[in-house]
C-alpha cells in the first residue's frame, strides 16, 4: 500500500540516546518508519517507550545531553540527517514538518492575541506583511473550525478545545507536508476530544496532509490511523496496517495491549500486562519484552530483528521468524 501511495517519509535505524548521570538512555534505539502521502501513522506506546523522543528526533528539537543522534531520515527524496542545522531550520523545521507539542495549548503566550501568534511563522520566517499573514490566519482558522472573530482574542478567553484548535492552526499555517501531533487530545474532555479528532479527519481528507500521531491511547489512535507503529522500550515492535493491528495484532505485546483496552459493550473485563517496562539505560540483551511475555521461549534471549509478514507488516518477534522463511 505504501508503495502504491507515494512515500513521504522514510526513517531507517534512527537512534537518539541521552547522556544521564546513571549512563546512556537509549530513548530511540533503531527505529524504522514509513509514512505515505496523505497517510496517518499512529505511534502508539506507553510512557517511557520513546515516542516523544522519536518526534523530537524527527523535528531535530534536541536537548543538550544527546549522546548519539544517527540514522537515516528521507523526506520526499531529501536526506535530512546530513543537512546542517541552519539549512534544516530554515528549510525543513516548521516549513515541511510541523509539530503540535504535548500540552502546547497551555504554552500560548498569554499577552499576545492568538491571531498574531499563529501568524508569527509567516511574518518572521517568510517576511510576509501583516495583512497577508492575517488573511492566511483566517483561512487556517476556518480549516480547524475557529471563527474569524477569535483572531483578536487572548488565550485566556478561549476554552481548552478552542486553544487546541489554535495550536493546530499554528502547525498548519506554513502548509507543511507532515504534521507531528504529540498527544493532541490527552488533556481534553471526551466530547472535546471527539471534536478535535473530527477536525483532524477533515484536514486529512480535505488538505491531504500526512500525520504522525503520537499517543498512548488505543481508542484515540483508532480515530485517525491508517497504519500503526507500536513502540516498546525505544523500539518499534510492530508496524502494521490499522485494520490488521486493531483486529489481528501480531506481536505478543500488541495482543496484550489490545486486550487491556476497555470496551463499552463487552461482558468480559479487560486484561492487563503484569510487570514493568525495562530501564532504557541498561535494556535487557535479548527481546526487550521477553520478561513480561507469556509466549517467550529460548530464542528470546537474542534480540529479534523486524520480520516482514505479507510485505507490509513488520514484527519484531521470533515467533514470526518462520513467516519470513515462507515468504522468501
Amino acid at each position: 500500500m505504501t508503495d502504491a501511495r507515494e512515500r513521504l517519509l522514510q526513517v531507517r535505524n534512527l537512534q537518539l540516546h541521552y547522556r544521564t548521570r546513571r549512563g546512556t538512555a537509549r530513548a530511540v534505539d533503531g527505529v524504522d518508519l514509513d509514512v505515505g502521502r496523505n497517510e496517518a501513522l499512529v505511534v502508539l506506546g506507553e510512557s517511557g517507550s520513546g515516542k516523544s523522543s522519536l518526534a523530537k528526533a524527527l523535528m531535530r528539537l534536541l536537548p543538550r545531553n544527546v549522546a548519539r543522534y544517527s540514522g537515516q531520515v528521507m523526506l520526499g527524496g531529501d536526506e535530512l540527517m546530513g543537512m546542517d542545522d541552519e539549512r534544516f531550520r530554515s528549510g525543513v523545521q516548521w516549513n515541511r514538518i510541523a509539530m503540535v507539542m504535548q500540552a502546547a495549548m497551555n504554552a500560548l503566550n498569554p499577552v499576545v492575541r492568538v491571531g498574531e501568534q499563529v501568524a508569527e511563522p509567516l511574518r518572521v520566517h517568510r517576511g510576509w506583511s501583516k495583512a497577508a499573514a492575517m488573511e492566511r490566519v483566517v483561512e487556517t482558522f476556518a480549516i480547524v473550525g475557529v471563527s474569524r472573530d477569535f483572531v483578536t482574542r487572548y488565550p485566556f478567553e478561549l476554552s481548552g478545545g478552542m486553544r487546541q484548535r489554535v495550536v493546530l492552526a499554528m502547525a498548519l499555517i506554513t502548509e507543511p507536508e507532515l504534521v507531528i501531533l504529540d498527544e493532541p487530545t490527552s488533556a481534553l474532555d471526551v466530547l472535546t476530544q471527539a471534536s478535535i479528532m473530527n477536525v483532524l479527519k477533515r484536514i486529512k481528507r480535505e488538505q491531504g496532509t500526512s500525520f504522525i500521531l503520537i499517543t498512548h491511547d488505543v481508542a484515540t489512535s483508532s480515530e485517525l490511523a491508517d497504519r500503526v507503529a507500536l513502540m516498546y522500550a525505544g523500539q518499534v515492535v510492530e508496524q502494521s496496517d490499522a485494520r490488521d493491528f486493531f483486529h489481528h495484532p501480531a506481536h505478543p505485546y500488541s495482543k496484550l495491549l489490545m486486550d487491556s483496552v476497555p470496551r463499552l459493550h463487552q461482558s468480559e473485563p479487560p486484561g492487563y500486562i503484569p510487570g514493568e517496562p525495562p530501564d532504557l539505560i541498561d535494556p535487557p540483551a535479548g527481546c526487550r519484552f521477553a520478561d513480561r511475555c507469556p509466549s517467550r521461549f529460548g530464542r528470546c534471549s537474542e534480540d529479534p530483528p523486524a520480520f516482514e509478514l505479507n510485505g507490509e507488516r513488520r514484527v519484531r518477534c521470533w515467533l514470526h521468524e518462520e513467516g519470513t522463511d515462507h515468504d522468501g
Binding site: S222, L257, H265
Partner: protein, 331 residues
C-alpha cells in the same frame, strides 16, 4: 442500624464557591455542586462520570469534608457531617479513605514509604510501633506490594506509577475505612497498568465489603468496576442507573452524546466523523435557565427546556433521568 439503611446520604447537596473581587466584593458564586441527592449503600461501588468542570471532584471533596456544603448535608451512618466537630470529625475521616488522581503528587516526596504510611496511624493514635508495622505490612500485602521489605525504605520517586498508586491505596486502607473515594484513580497511569489498579480496587471493595465511590471522566472503563453510575453535568446529576441499564439504554441526551463520542477500537473509526454536540459546558457562575444541557441539546424543546428545570423522572425501575423527554405526562 438496619442493613437497608444507606451508608451515606446526600440530601439537596450544594457546594458553591463565592467569588470576590479585591478580596471582599461579592461578585457571584460558582455553583460547583448544585442540588444533588443520592444514597450509597454498604458494599456498593458507584461511579460519578462527567467532564471536567461538572462538579464531580467538588462533590468528592465535599463528601470528604474538605468543603462545607452551602446547602443540604451529607449524612454518614446516621450522622450529619456538618454537625461533626473535633474528635468526631477525625473519626469520620478515618472512616472514609481517599485515593487521589495523581499518585506522585499525593505522596510527600521527602518521606519513605514506611514513614508516610505510619503517619496516619500515628495521627489516629496507634502508639505501638510493632502494631503499626503489622498494619502497614498487611495493607501493602493487600495492594499486592508483596516485597514489603524492599518497598518500605523507598521514597516515592523510586517507585513506578503503578506502585505509587498502590501505596496511595494502601494508605487509604490503613485506618479500616467503611468507604473509599477514588478521584480519577487511573487517569495518570499507562493503559496496561490501569486495568490492574482498577481490578485491585474492585477486589478490595468486594473482599472488605467497602463502599467505593469513584470519580471518572471515562465511561468506557466503568462497566466492570461499578454497580451504579451517576452522570453529572454542570453541577447536577442528570442520569443515574445501574451500569448495564445506563450503558445499554441511555436516556438523557447528554449521556447519549457521551456514549456516541467514544467508540470501541475499530479501524473504521478513522473513516467517519462522530456526532458531537456543539458548544461547551456552561459557566457554573451563570448556568442557563431551565435544563443546563438545553443550549447544546439536539432534542431541546423550545418553551419547556429553556424555561423549566427538569426533575428526575424514572423511565424504568431504578433508572432516573433529568430530562423532559422522559416526562410521562408529556403531550
Amino acid at each position: 442500624m438496619t442493613a437497608e439503611e444507606p451508608l451515606l446520604q446526600a440530601t439537596n447537596l450544594h457546594t458553591w464557591f463565592e467569588l470576590r473581587q479585591w478580596g471582599f466584593l461579592r461578585v457571584g458564586s460558582v455553583r460547583a455542586v448544585d442540588g444533588v441527592d443520592f444514597e450509597l449503600g454498604r458494599g456498593e461501588s458507584v461511579a460519578f462520570v462527567g467532564e471536567s468542570g461538572c462538579g464531580k471532584s467538588s462533590l468528592a471533596r465535599t463528601l470528604l469534608g474538605l468543603h462545607n456544603p452551602s446547602h443540604g448535608d451529607v449524612i454518614f451512618e446516621g450522622q450529619h457531617l456538618s454537625e461533626l466537630k473535633g474528635e468526631a470529625r477525625r473519626q469520620y475521616l478515618a472512616r472514609v479513605g481517599y485515593v487521589q488522581q495523581d499518585p506522585f503528587g499525593a505522596l510527600p516526596p521527602f518521606m519513605d514509604v514506611r514513614r508516610l504510611l505510619s503517619e496516619p496511624l500515628i495521627i489516629h493514635g496507634v502508639k505501638d510501633r510493632d502494631e503499626r508495622e503489622r498494619r502497614i505490612c498487611q495493607a501493602l500485602q493487600e495492594v499486592r506490594l508483596t516485597q514489603v521489605d524492599e518497598i518500605l525504605p523507598k521514597f516515592p520517586h523510586m517507585l513506578s506509577g503503578g506502585q505509587q498508586q498502590r501505596v496511595v491505596i494502601a494508605r487509604a486502607l490503613l485506618l479500616e475505612p467503611a468507604m473509599l473515594i477514588a478521584d480519577e484513580p487511573v487517569s495518570m497511569l499507562d493503559a496496561s497498568v490501569r486495568v490492574e489498579i482498577l481490578n485491585l480496587l474492585r477486589r478490595i471493595q468486594t473482599e472488605r465489603g467497602l463502599t467505593l465511590a469513584f470519580i471518572t471522566h471515562d465511561l468506557s472503563t466503568v462497566r466492570h468496576y461499578a454497580d451504579r453510575i451517576f452522570v453529572m453535568y454542570a453541577g447536577r446529576v442528570v442520569e443515574q442507573a445501574p451500569v448495564e441499564q445506563l450503558l445499554d439504554n441511555p436516556q438523557h441526551p447528554y449521556t447519549r452524546a457521551l456514549l456516541a463520542a467514544i467508540a470501541d477500537v475499530d479501524a473504521d473509526n478513522a473513516l467517519d466523523e462522530r456526532d458531537v454536540p456543539d458548544g461547551e459546558p456552561p459557566s457554573l457562575l451563570h448556568p442557563p435557565e431551565g435544563c443546563r444541557f438545553h443550549p447544546r441539546c439536539p432534542q431541546a424543546m423550545a418553551g419547556l427546556c429553556d424555561r423549566q428545570d427538569p426533575p428526575l423522572f424514572e423511565p424504568e425501575a431504578g433508572h432516573y433521568s433529568a430530562c423532559w423527554l422522559q416526562d410521562p405526562e408529556r403531550d
